[in-house]
């Protein structure tokens, strides 16, 4: 709670800088217009012009806010909340790919981690490649994956989800391996004195003690998987989704549209990560770990 004042100060400072930058970046266009109209601008006229242009270099926050409201709240009020022009529809498209990829990635990650912890051969041969796979800028081949999967007849949700999966499995593997190995020799010996089978050791000791690590990884994995879904939407020809909105906005110079898609993506990321944080709090509390 004691952080609230400093955080609000920083956020206020960001908004102040944003407004100031909007004036600075949009001023040349405003002067240009005024010159052609043969009038000279006073300071207040200049400021009001730079904050209300049609295609500004940097839209002011209230313009982005208005655009966001027009494409979400107002459309819901009109009962067209799911039409193709509404950001809710595009967010839903992106979210479905993110969610599917995240689930697949988490499942793959946990399976790999269990394999790595219980099988020495896998530990030594797969683990180095899991780490190496992340130094490869995989996002770069997103367009290729989409095109290739399209060619073999898989299109729509799955190709995007594959990219999200690839990005989100890594944090889960690394976190789960660390988590499953976190019980000390003392605890493992204790299980042995109780004559526990390996399965019992897994369910009653290793899995519960890996939970804090798992949730930390899930948060990173969720953020990564959203990035994957957005980038995966770029090469599909700007059909639907937040990534498509970004691309369409950049083609037609609709800066306000880009910014609103960006803010929407940020909100989506914050909600998803926050949701995992909430589940984490509840689960850890019921397990007596928090």
């Amino acid at each position: 709670m004691r952080n609230i004042v400093p955080v609000l100060t920083v956020v206020a400072a960001i908004f102040a800088i944003w407004y100031a930058a909007a004036v600075a970046l949009n001023a040349p266009w405003a002067y240009n217009k005024a010159e052609r109209a043969g009038v000279s601008l006073t300071t207040s006229e200049l400021i009001s012009d730079t904050w209300s242009q049609q295609k500004p270099k940097l839209p002011a926050p209230h313009q982005v806010g208005a655009e966001l409201w027009n494409t979400t709240g107002e459309m819901v009020a009109k009962g067209r909340g799911f039409s193709k022009r509404s950001l809710i529809y595009h967010s839903w498209v992106t979210f479905s790919a993110t969610g599917l990829g995240f689930l697949l990635g988490t499942a793959l990650g946990i399976a790999l981690a269990i394999g790595i912890v219980y099988n020495r051969t896998m530990d030594m041969s797969v683990m180095p490649w899991v780490i190496a796979s992340q130094t490869i800028p995989i996002l770069a081949i997103a367009p290729m994956i989409i095109v290739v999967l399209n060619a073999v007849g898989i299109s729509g949700l799955l190709p995007k989800a594959m990219i999200s999966m690839y990005l989100s499995f890594f944090p889960v593997v690394v976190g789960m391996v660390k988590g499953l190995r976190s019980p000390g020799p003392m605890q493992l010996d204790q299980m042995r004195t109780w004559n526990a089978t390996p399965t019992q050791t897994f369910w009653k000791l290793r899995l519960p003690s890996s939970m804090p690590y798992l949730f930390t990884s899930l948060k990173i994995g969720m953020a990564a998987s959203l990035v994957g879904a957005i980038v995966g939407e770029l090469p599909t020809g700007a059909v639907a989704g937040l990534g498509a909105r970004l691309l369409a906005g950049s083609y037609y110079g609709q800066t306000i549209q880009i910014w609103s898609a960006l803010i929407m993506a940020a909100t989506l990321a914050a909600c998803l990560v926050g949701l995992i944080g909430l589940v984490q709090r509840i689960v850890l509390k019921r397990m007596g770990m928090a």
């Binding site: 952080n3 020495r120 051969t121 030594m124 490649w129 490869i136 800028p137 770069a140 290739v148 914050a270």
Partner: protein, 281 residues
């Protein structure tokens, strides 16, 4: 069928060899050999499957064809490498990490800033920053400057958060000791807190190294001059020249691994005293 049988045989053989090797005492040789054998097995199986199942090279070219393209088109690959990695990613990486480092020291000096900026920084680090790419391309033009700007924005917050966390990693006892030596703020910073922060700083540098390459390549999807790795990948996909795309991916993989490996080596040399480095030989 012969190719498929070969694939199966190689898989069983490679796994058996790894099984034997990994159950012997760990030495430097086995630690290196096991992953290498695993990687080779995958490549051979890939080749055999593509030939055995007669997959069209438009969908998935075999590794031999990729290698041939790689050797054939080195001048294009080199040109793209200079444009994307040296001009775009590296410039942005140095600027972004440098700015974040300076900012971190300023943030650490003032507790108010630290309490305000850290939650915001943590929040921003989880956002899909890559979405800033079209805006920055619009501001800085199509050439490498806009790619460098994307990289700066992408690496800034992970680096800032890690450095600030590292700077607070000394305990009161150590700082008191510095005070008994009559060391001022700057002396304490240089001799105690920065060295103690190094493991965290290197963690940030490592995360930033992968982000930098991704940022530079993806930013090229939003507009670029007619060279660069991202440009080549997106146009070659359009021409179905997938062997060239894979050759670019090989370049990206080599660069990414070398970049990461270089930082890891530097870390090993500078933080040899840290427990995470001491345990290994």
């Amino acid at each position: 069928m012969a190719w498929l049988a070969l694939a199966l045989a190689v898989w069983i053989g490679g796994w058996w060899l790894n099984h034997v090797l990994s159950h012997r005492p760990k030495t430097r040789v086995t630690r290196l050999a096991v992953p290498v054998i695993f990687g080779l097995t995958i490549v051979i199986i890939w080749e055999a499957l593509v030939r055995g199942l007669e997959i069209s090279p438009v969908l998935l070219p075999p590794p031999t064809q990729i290698a041939a393209t790689f050797a054939d088109k080195t001048h294009i690959l080199w040109q793209d490498f200079v444009q994307t990695v040296i001009k775009g990613a590296l410039t942005g990486y140095v600027l972004g990490c440098g700015a974040a480092f300076v900012m971190a020291i300023a943030v650490d000096r003032f507790d108010f800033l630290k309490r305000g900026l850290l939650p915001v920084g943590n929040f921003v680090a989880a956002l899909p920053i890559i979405g800033m790419a079209p805006i920055l391309v619009m501001w800085f033009g199509f050439d490498w400057q806009s790619k460098a700007a994307v990289v700066v924005v992408m690496v800034f917050f992970p680096m800032l958060v890690n450095t600030v966390e590292g700077l607070s990693d000394t305990d009161a006892m150590q700082r008191d000791l510095m005070r008994t030596y009559a060391a001022g703020y700057w002396k304490t910073l240089l001799k105690l807190r920065l060295p103690a922060a190094l493991p965290f700083i290197f963690n940030g540098l490592k995360i930033a190294s992968t982000l930098a390459l991704i940022g530079a390549i993806v930013a090229e999807f939003f507009g670029s001059p007619i060279k660069g790795m991202g440009f080549r990948i997106s146009t070659s996909v359009g021409q179905l020249a997938l062997d060239l795309v894979w050759a670019e991916i090989v370049v990206a993989a080599i660069v990414g691994s070398a970049f990461y490996g270089g930082i890891a080596l530097l870390e090993k040399a500078l933080t040899f005293w840290h427990p995470s480095q001491r345990g290994r030989s």
